[in-house]
Symmetry: D2
Subunit: 337 residues, 4 copies
Amino acid sequence: MLVVMQEGAAEESVQRVIDRLVTMGFTVHRSTGTSHTVLGGVGPMDNFEPAEFEVMEGVKECHRIVSPYKLANKRFRPQGTVVEIGKVKIGGPEVVMMAGPCSVESEEQISLSAELVAKAGAKVIRGGAFKPRSSPYSFQGLGEQGLKMLRAAADRNGLLVVSEVMDRSQIALLSEYSDILQVGARNMQNFNLLRDLGLARKPVLLKRGIAATIEELLLSAEYIMSGGNYEIMLCERGIRTFETATRNTMDISAIPVLQQLTHLPVLADPSHGVGKRNLVAPMARAAVAAGADGLLVEVHHDPEHALSDGAQSLYPDQFAELMGQLRGIAAAVGRSV
Amino acid sequence: MLVVMQEGAAEESVQRVIDRLVTMGFTVHRSTGTSHTVLGGVGPMDNFEPAEFEVMEGVKECHRIVSPYKLANKRFRPQGTVVEIGKVKIGGPEVVMMAGPCSVESEEQISLSAELVAKAGAKVIRGGAFKPRSSPYSFQGLGEQGLKMLRAAADRNGLLVVSEVMDRSQIALLSEYSDILQVGARNMQNFNLLRDLGLARKPVLLKRGIAATIEELLLSAEYIMSGGNYEIMLCERGIRTFETATRNTMDISAIPVLQQLTHLPVLADPSHGVGKRNLVAPMARAAVAAGADGLLVEVHHDPEHALSDGAQSLYPDQFAELMGQLRGIAAAVGRSV
Amino acid sequence: MLVVMQEGAAEESVQRVIDRLVTMGFTVHRSTGTSHTVLGGVGPMDNFEPAEFEVMEGVKECHRIVSPYKLANKRFRPQGTVVEIGKVKIGGPEVVMMAGPCSVESEEQISLSAELVAKAGAKVIRGGAFKPRSSPYSFQGLGEQGLKMLRAAADRNGLLVVSEVMDRSQIALLSEYSDILQVGARNMQNFNLLRDLGLARKPVLLKRGIAATIEELLLSAEYIMSGGNYEIMLCERGIRTFETATRNTMDISAIPVLQQLTHLPVLADPSHGVGKRNLVAPMARAAVAAGADGLLVEVHHDPEHALSDGAQSLYPDQFAELMGQLRGIAAAVGRSV
Amino acid sequence: MLVVMQEGAAEESVQRVIDRLVTMGFTVHRSTGTSHTVLGGVGPMDNFEPAEFEVMEGVKECHRIVSPYKLANKRFRPQGTVVEIGKVKIGGPEVVMMAGPCSVESEEQISLSAELVAKAGAKVIRGGAFKPRSSPYSFQGLGEQGLKMLRAAADRNGLLVVSEVMDRSQIALLSEYSDILQVGARNMQNFNLLRDLGLARKPVLLKRGIAATIEELLLSAEYIMSGGNYEIMLCERGIRTFETATRNTMDISAIPVLQQLTHLPVLADPSHGVGKRNLVAPMARAAVAAGADGLLVEVHHDPEHALSDGAQSLYPDQFAELMGQLRGIAAAVGRSV
C-alpha cells in the first residue's frame, strides 16, 4: 500500500504513519521527493480501509495496491472458469440463454414457458418461487409448490433451472429443486447468505446490486469462494443513476471490465436492466456484442396477465425473433448462441 | 391512478386500457382533451407497477396517485410518532443522541465508551456485535459475547442499547440484549428480515440503503408496520453518488422531506454519511439544524486502534465539543439536546 | 397537465389551484374520486414547472402531459430525419462511422489519420481544433491552423469533417472548415450557443451532457430547431455515475429510448463513454447492436504520443479489426457499415 | 506520481513505463516489492491523465500525487481568502446573506425585493437579467434593462449586486452593473468564459455544476485564477443523484471538504439545491451549521406570480423568520449573520 504525505508534512507525522504501518505488520519503504514523501508498505493481506490513514495528521492520500479479492481475481485462474452443469457450459464459446417468467404462477404457465423457451434455444429456465417485492402488499411467490412445478416443467423440456434464494434459511430447499442458486441484486451484500452459499454445493448466479461497484461485486463473489464454492457466475442487471427514462441504467461496460478483472463468467439481465419490454431486445443484443457469456431474459406466454414484472417480459414471438438476431451477433464476435 | 394516452392514440388502444383497468377492479373516468385522452382509475390499493400500463400500445405515461404506503404515511398519524423507551422519547422535542463505537471489541473498550458517551449527554449507546463487512477477511464482530458486554456497560451507565441485526435468525438473540434493533443500509430491502421484525416487540431503527429512494425507505418501514410493529425510527446515512471526496453523500434534505411524508421519527448518522472523522461534526450540526430527531455518532476512546471504522470515529473530546455546539443549534430551532 | 390533490385537501385549496390554472389560460376539468381530487388542465404549451403547483397548499403532485419539446418530437416527423451531407446519409440504413484523433496535432498526424480512417471505411473524420480541457494547463488545441490541416486532410481522402465549436464566437470560423458542428457534452446547455446554432446553416452533432437526462438532451435539440436548423444528430457519450472503473457509464439504453422519442439520428461515442482503449471495441459493438445510426471513435496513429485522450484512442489495426466486427453486427440487425 | 505495476508484470513492461516517464521529464524512483513493482515519478506539473499509463501493458493503476490545481489550493494561501467588496467581507467571521428574486421582472418587483431583503439583513441582492432556461419557450430575462433596474434598486438600499453572466460576450456589460459576476452551474466548465473572467476585474461567484466533482470545481476556479483574478467564491447548489424527491441533492458535506482543500470562501444556494420553498429553510440552516461563509437565497414578494423559479422562492416573512434562526445557528458555531 502507498501513503502519500501532504506537501511539507512534519517529520513527526511521517514517523507516526511509519510506526502505525510497522505495528500492522508492514515493511515500510520511504521515498522522499522534492515536494512529497511517499511511504510504501509491503505486508500481509491489504485488508484495511485506506481512510484509516487518510485521516492521520499530514497524510494526503492512501492507496491499496493489492486487490482486496484473491480467489475472484483473474490471476487466480488466468484461463477462466467454465461452470459446467450437465451438458451446459457457462463461460465457454457458447453464449448461454436463460429465459422464463419472472415468477412461477401456475402449472400451466410454467409448462407453456418451459416449452417455448426450450424451443427457441434457451438452455436454462428461470422463474422465481420466492419474490423480493418492494411493497408488502404485492404477490410474494408460490414457495415450494412453485419450485416443484418449475423443476417438473424444466425436466420435461431438458432445461436446467435457475431460481432465487432470498435468505440463508432457503438454501437447502432451493438446492433440492434448482440447478443454479440466484442471489438477487438486493442481497448482493447479504453477507450471511453469501457465507452459507460458500458451503453449498450448487453453482451460484450472483447479481450486481443497483448501487454496487464492480469491486464490491467481486468482493461478494470472494465471500462465497472463500467458503469453498468456486462455481460462480456474475450478472450485470442495471445500476441506479439519475436517468428515469429506464428503470435502471444497464452498465454494459461492466461486462468487458469484469472480464479483465476476473476469471468468472459474466452474464447480463437486460429485462431488469431496462424494465420495459420494447427495450429488452436492443439491450440483449448489446450485451452479447459486448461479450457476455450468457443472458437472463424474462419471457411470459401472456405478459399482460403476469403477476409480476409483466411490463418487462417479452412475448414468445419477440423472444424467438431476438434469438435469431443474437445468433448473428454472436457469430460476429466469434461465438455461438 | 392516471393513464395519459399518446396524442392521437387509436380508440382501440384506449379501449384496451379501459378494459384492463376494469378487470383489475378500477372504476374508470375518461377525459378527452384536444390533444390527449386521460383515464383516471379509482380503485383498490394502488399496488401495481405503472410500467405495466406504459408498455401498452398508445399509452404515454401512467401515474400512481395513491401512495404505495399507508401505515407509514403522515396521514395515518398526523400528530407524529414518539417512540418511548423507558425515559427516552424519540420524536419529541429532544434531539436524542446515540453514540458509541462501531463494533464492540472488548470489555474495557465498551466500558470506557459507555462512560464517556453517557457523560457527554448521549442517551443510547451504539455498538455492533455482528458486523456486515464487504471483505470476508475483515473483523466480523464478537457475537453474543459482545452483546453481553454492551448490555452490561449500558446498564452501568443508565444508557439504552442499539445494535444491528443482520439476519432474521438473529432477531431473538438481539432482542434479549438490545433496546432497539438496527437494520443496516445493506439490509433495508431484506424483506424476510423486515417481515419478521414486524412480529418482534422491539423498536426498530431502519437505515436508508445507499441507493434507496425516500419512497423505498418508506415502503420498507411499511413492511415492518404491516406486521404490527409501529415503533420505527428512520435514519439517513448517506447515498451513493458520483462524488468520491466523501464515502457517501449525506442527503440532509431527506430529513425535512421525510418529516413531510411520514409520522415516524427521523434520525441521521453523520459518521457513515461521510466516512472521515473531521467531517462528522459539521454534518452532525447540519442534520440537527435541518430538523433531525436524533443522531447516531461513532465515538471511540482510541480510534487509531479501532477494529472497524476507526477513520470515522470521533475522539472523546471531539464528541464532547460537538455536544456543546449541538446544544446551541438545537436551541436555535426550538429543541434541546 | 394534471394536478393531483392530497387526500382530504380543503375545497379552498382546490379552488386556489383552479383559479391559478384558469389565470394561466387552461381549461380545467375536475374529477372528484373517493380519496383524491384530480384537476386536468387543457391549455397552451405546457411550458411551466410542475413544482410551481406542487408547493401549493393541498397539492400532492403535478404532471405535465404534453412533452415540453415539439420539433424534436417523433410525432413531428414520424418517418425520421436523414441528415444528408454530400453522399453521406446519417439516419438511413447505413451505420455511419466518424473517426479520427481527439485533437489535430500536426500536419503529419492528421494526414496519417485521415488516410487510415478512410481506408478502414469511415466516412467522416473527427478532430478538435479547440479543446475543452478541465485543467488550464493542458493542451488547448491548434485553433484555425488545425482546422485548415483537418480540412485539407479530409479533402485528400474524400472524407467529411466534424469538429467541435466551443463558443458562439467560433461558429462562423468552424462553419468555414467543418461539415458538421459538434457541441460537446459540457456545452449541451450553453443556451446562447444553441440559439446561435439554430441560425447556422450547418448540421449539428449534439452530445449528451454527462448529467443530462434524455429529456434535457431533447430540449437542447429543440433550442437549435426552434431557430430553424433541423439538421441535428444526437450523441450518447456516457453519463456520470458512482462507478469509477470507467470514466463514465455509457448509457447504451439511451439509444433505443431516443429512437422512440425523436426522429433525429442517434449516434454513440464509445471512446469518451469508457475512457480506456481496451473497452472501446466492446462498447462500439454494443452501440451498433442496440441500433445506433453512427459512431464517433477516436483513433490515433501513435496513441502513446497523443497530446490529448491518448488512453482512449485505438491503434490503427484495432480500428480496422473493429470495423470488421461491426460489419457482422450491423448485418445481424439489418443494416450495413 | 505513482505507477503500480500488475503482479508479475514483465520487466519489459516496467522498462516501457520508465522510459515514458523519463521522456515526460520525470525522475523515476523504483521500488520492487514481493508482489508489486511501484514506480514513483517526481517531475514538473502533474498535468496528465492517469489513464494514459493505466492502459499500458502490465500497469495496474496510476495515481497523481500532486493536486492538479495550485492557485486554488489551500497551501497557496493557508490563511484563507477574504473577498472584500466595499464594506462587505466574504470569507470572514460573518456569514454573508445574498438574497432576491430568481429574475428581475419589473421595476416594482425588484424595488420591493431590494427593500425587503435589505431590511431582513441581506448584504447582497441577487437577480438574473439573462436566464439560462432548459426550454427555449421560457422567459429568458430582461437583459440590460433588467440590470439597470437591479442596480438602481440595490443602490437605494445599500446593497451589493450579484448577477449571472451566461457568455463571455456579456462580461463587459455585466461588469458595468454588477459587483459580483455569477457563473451558473451549467457554465462551470465553459472554459472560454472562465478564461475571460480571469482577465476581468470583478469578483466571481462560481457555482458547482450538477455533475461536477469537488476537484473539477477547484480546477474551474484555477482557470479563472490562472488569468490573474483571485477574487473567487465557490458555491454548492446541489448535485444530480438518483433521488427525485428533490430537484437536486444538496451536498452539504462539500462545504467542509472544500474548506479543507481551498482558501476560497464557500457559499451555498439552498434554493436551487432543493427546488421547493418548504425545504429551503432547513437546508439554509444546515449549510450555516456546516460552516458556509454565505448563502444565496431566492426570495420573491409574490412567488406565485414569479416569472421563474417561483416554487423555490421564499415569501418575505419566511425569509425574515429564517434570518432569525440563522443568527442563532451562526452564534452556535462562533460566527454572526
